[in-house]
C-alpha cells in the first residue's frame, strides 16, 4: 500500500529548532572537552611558570649554573639536579638502548612461533605497568646490594678512571641509571618493534632473494628503514627517564653535588621536588617551581620532537 503525498510529508516533518539546537549543543560540548585537554597542557605551563616568577626574577639564568641550594640564606641554584637528571637518563639510555632494540628485533622477526612470542611481548609491556614506587622498593632492598658489590669490585680494579673513582656506599647515580634503564626498556622495545613490523615485507623479500642472510637483511635493509621510528622511541624513553620521580628518589641518595664518579650520590630535579616540596615555603617554593618549570620545558621539547618523529613514521606507513 503506497502512502499518499500528504502522509509522507507528515512523517517527514522537520526536527523542531529546539531539538536541532540541542544536538549541535552536544557537538559543541564535546568540542569544549576536547579543547580542554589541550588547555590542561597550557594551564600547567602557565601556572607553574607563574609560581616560578619570583625565583626567575631573583636568580635569572644563574639558577641553571649555580650549585648552591641554601634555604637558610634563601639562595638557590639547580645545576647539580640538572646534571643528575641528564646523567642518570644518559646511563639509562646507554643500557636500555641496545637491549631494547635487541628485544624489538627478537620480537619482530619470526624467531618464535606466534603462540610463544605474544606472551613475551605482553611480559615486556608489563614491565612498563609496574608502579615506579615498587621499583624503588625493590631497588633499595634487592638491586642496591647486588650493584654495590659489583661497584666495589670495579672501584678496586679501575678506581683510577674518574667514572669509578669513589667507593660505592649504597644508593647513587649508578643505581638510579640501572633502575631507569629497566623502566624505559619497554618503551624503546615497544616503539622500535612497531617501527620494525611496519617495514614493508617486499624489502625483506628482495633482500633474501639477493642471498642476504637474516642479519645482513636486518642491518642493511630493515633497521635503516625503521631508523626514524626507533629514534622516536628512544627520545620518548629519554623524556620518561628525565621525569621519573619515585624510583630515582629512592635510590639516588639525594645529595646536592656534582661528581664525575657514577658511584657517588646525586639528585635529579624530580627527586629535589619530591624531597623538599612539602616542607618548603616562600622563595624556596618559587625556586622549586622554577626547577619544575625547567624540567617541564626539557621534557616538553624532547616529547614534542619524539612525537613529530614517530608521527612522521606513522604517516609514511
Amino acid at each position: 500500500m503506497a502512502l499518499s503525498n500528504q502522509q509522507v510529508t507528515e512523517i517527514k516533518r522537520a526536527r523542531s529548532p529546539l531539538a536541532r539546537q540541542l544536538d549541535s549543543g552536544f557537538v559543541w560540548l564535546t568540542g569544549m572537552f576536547a579543547v580542554g585537554v589541550a588547555l590542561v597542557l597550557v594551564a600547567i605551563a602557565v601556572r607553574v611558570g607563574w609560581e616560578a616568577l619570583p625565583a626567575i626574577q631573583q636568580f635569572g639564568a644563574g639558577f641553571l649554573t649555580s650549585s648552591r641550594w641554601d634555604p637558610v640564606e634563601d639562595i638557590y641554584g639547580a645545576l647539580p639536579q640538572i646534571y643528575g637528571t641528564l646523567v642518570s637518563s644518559l646511563i639509562a639510555l646507554l643500557i636500555a638502548m641496545p637491549i631494547g632494540i635487541g628485544v624489538a628485533i627478537f620480537l619482530s622477526e619470526d624467531f618464535l612461533p606466534n603462540k610463544i612470542q605474544r606472551p613475551i611481548v605482553f611480559m615486556v609491556e608489563l614491565l612498563a605497568a609496574i608502579p615506579s614506587v615498587v621499583y624503588g622498593l625493590w631497588g633499595i632492598f634487592v638491586l642496591i646490594p647486588i650493584l654495590r658489590n659489583m661497584g666495589v669490585a670495579l672501584n678496586a680494579g679501575l678506581g683510577w678512571i674518574p667514572l669509578f673513582s669513589t667507593r660505592p656506599t649504597g644508593p647513587g647515580m649508578y643505581v638510579a641509571g640501572v633502575i631507569l634503564a629497566i623502566m624505559i626498556l619497554p618503551i624503546i622495545a615497544a616503539i622500535s618493534r612497531d617501527a620494525l613490523v611496519a617495514v614493508p615485507p617486499e624489502l625483506r623479500q628482495a633482500s633474501y632473494g639477493l642471498g642476504a642472510t637474516r642479519w645482513e637483511t636486518l642491518f642493511k635493509v630493515i633497521l635503516p628503514a625503521a631508523f626514524s621510528g626507533i629514534v622516536g622511541g628512544i627520545m620518548l624513553a629519554m623524556g620518561r627517564a628525565m621525569g621519573e620521580t619515585m624510583a630515582t628518589t629512592m635510590v639516588i641518595g639525594n645529595a646536592n653535588k656534582i661528581n664525575p664518579s657514577l658511584f657517588d650520590q646525586g639528585s635529579t630535579i624530580a627527586s629535589l621536588l619530591a624531597n623538599q616540596f612539602a616542607e618548603a615555603s616562600g622563595l624556596q617554593i618559587s625556586s622549586l617551581m622554577y626547577a619544575a618549570f625547567v624540567l617541564f620545558l626539557i621534557t616538553l621539547i624532547v616529547n614534542v620532537l619524539a612525537e613529530l618523529v614517530v608521527r612522521r613514521v606513522r604517516m609514511k606507513v
Partner: protein, 291 residues
C-alpha cells in the same frame, strides 16, 4: 639427478662456518640474550614482591590502620581508603572529560587538522612528568584552598589519567564500523542519539578497558599525591582532609628503618602489583576478543 641440479642444491645450502652465517647465528644468540635480560627484572620484581609481601596478606591488612614507628602489627586500611578516595575522584573527573573529548575527536572531527592537533597535545600531556602535574595541582588547588587534601590528590591523578583515557577511548570509538552510524542516521537519529544509543555502547568494552588500565596506573602513582594528599596516619572522614595512599605508604615505609613498616611496604607493593596484573590480563582478553 643432473649435474646442474646438484650444483644448485649445493649453492643454496649455507656453510654453517662461513663468516656470514656465523655472524648471523651469533647475532641471533645476542637477540635472545636481550630478551632474557629484559624479562629477568620483571620476574625478579614479581617474585620478591610476592615472597616478601605475602606474609602480611590477611584480613588485618585491610582492616587495621598503619602502625606508627616501633609498633608491631597494623595494616594498610587507611592507605587503601585514601587510594580508593583519590583514585575514585580522579576517575569521576577524568572519565567523563576524556570520553567526551574522545567522542568529539572520533565522531565529529575525525581526520581533520583540529583532531591531529588535539591528539598531539594529548600525547605531549601524557609525557608531562607526574611530579610536574603534582606541582601544578599544588599551586592551583592546595594553595588556593590552603590545605592539602584527598581531593587535590584526586585532581592531580586525573591529569595523569586523562590522556590515557582520551587515547584509548578514541581508538575504541574509531573501531566502531561506520555502517552502524549510517544505519542510525538513516533511521532518523540525531547526532546525540547516534553517539549515545549506538556508537558508545558498541565501543564500551574498549573504553572500559582503557579506564581499567588508567585506574591501575593511577593507583600506583606516587609523585602526584606526594604534596597534594600529603599523607595521614589514620582513617579520614572527608575528601577535604589530608589522606595517605597505598603508593605514598610504600614510599615512606620503604625508606623507614623499621622492619614492621618495611614488611607493610612489601605488602602494599604486592597489592599494587596484583592490581596491575589483574587489569592488564583482563584488558588483554577484551582486546583479543575484539580482534
Amino acid at each position: 639427478m643432473s649435474d646442474s641440479q646438484a650444483l644448485i642444491s649445493r649453492s643454496l645450502r649455507r656453510n654453517p662456518w662461513a663468516p656470514r652465517t656465523l655472524f648471523s647465528n651469533v647475532m641471533t644468540g645476542l637477540a635472545i640474550a636481550c630478551a632474557v635480560i629484559a624479562i629477568i627484572p620483571l620476574v625478579a620484581v614479581l617474585l620478591y614482591v610476592l615472597i616478601n609481601g605475602v606474609s602480611r596478606l590477611d584480613l588485618n591488612l585491610f582492616t587495621q590502620v598503619q602502625p606508627p614507628p616501633r609498633v608491631e602489627n597494623g595494616g594498610l586500611g587507611n592507605a587503601l581508603q585514601g587510594t580508593f578516595y583519590t583514585v575514585g575522584i580522579a576517575t569521576l573527573l577524568a572519565v567523563p572529560f576524556g570520553v567526551m573529548a574522545a567522542v568529539f575527536l572520533s565522531e565529529f572531527v575525525r581526520d581533520t587538522r583540529l583532531a591531529r592537533w588535539i591528539g598531539f597535545a594529548t600525547n605531549v600531556l601524557s609525557g608531562v612528568p607526574s611530579i610536574v602535574a603534582g606541582t601544578f595541582i599544588y599551586s592551583a588547588i592546595v594553595l588556593t584552598t590552603k590545605t592539602f587534601s584527598a581531593f587535590s590528590g584526586g585532581v592531580a591523578l586525573a591529569i595523569l589519567m586523562l590522556p590515557v583515557i582520551v587515547r584509548t577511548a578514541t581508538e575504541a570509538l574509531e573501531l566502531v564500523p561506520s555502517e552502524l552510524r549510517q544505519a542510525s542516521v538513516g533511521l532518523g537519529a540525531t547526532r546525540f542519539q547516534t553517539v549515545a544509543g549506538v556508537v558508545l555502547p558498541a565501543a564500551l568494552p574498549g573504553i572500559v578497558t582503557g579506564v581499567m588500565l588508567s585506574v591501575a596506573r593511577a593507583a600506583g602513582e606516587t609523585a602526584p599525591v606526594l604534596f597534594t594528599a600529603l599523607g595521614w596516619p589514620t582513617w579520614i572522614q572527608s575528601i577535604w582532609q589530608q589522606a595517605n595512599t597505598l603508593s605514598l605508604l610504600v614510599y615512606k615505609f620503604a625508606t623507614a628503618p623499621y622492619p614492621n613498616q618495611q614488611q607493610l611496604a612489601w605488602a602494599g607493593s604486592l597489592l599494587l602489583v596484583l592490581l596491575v596484573l589483574v587489569t592488564n590480563i583482563l584488558a588483554r582478553f577484551v582486546i583479543r576478543r575484539r580482534h
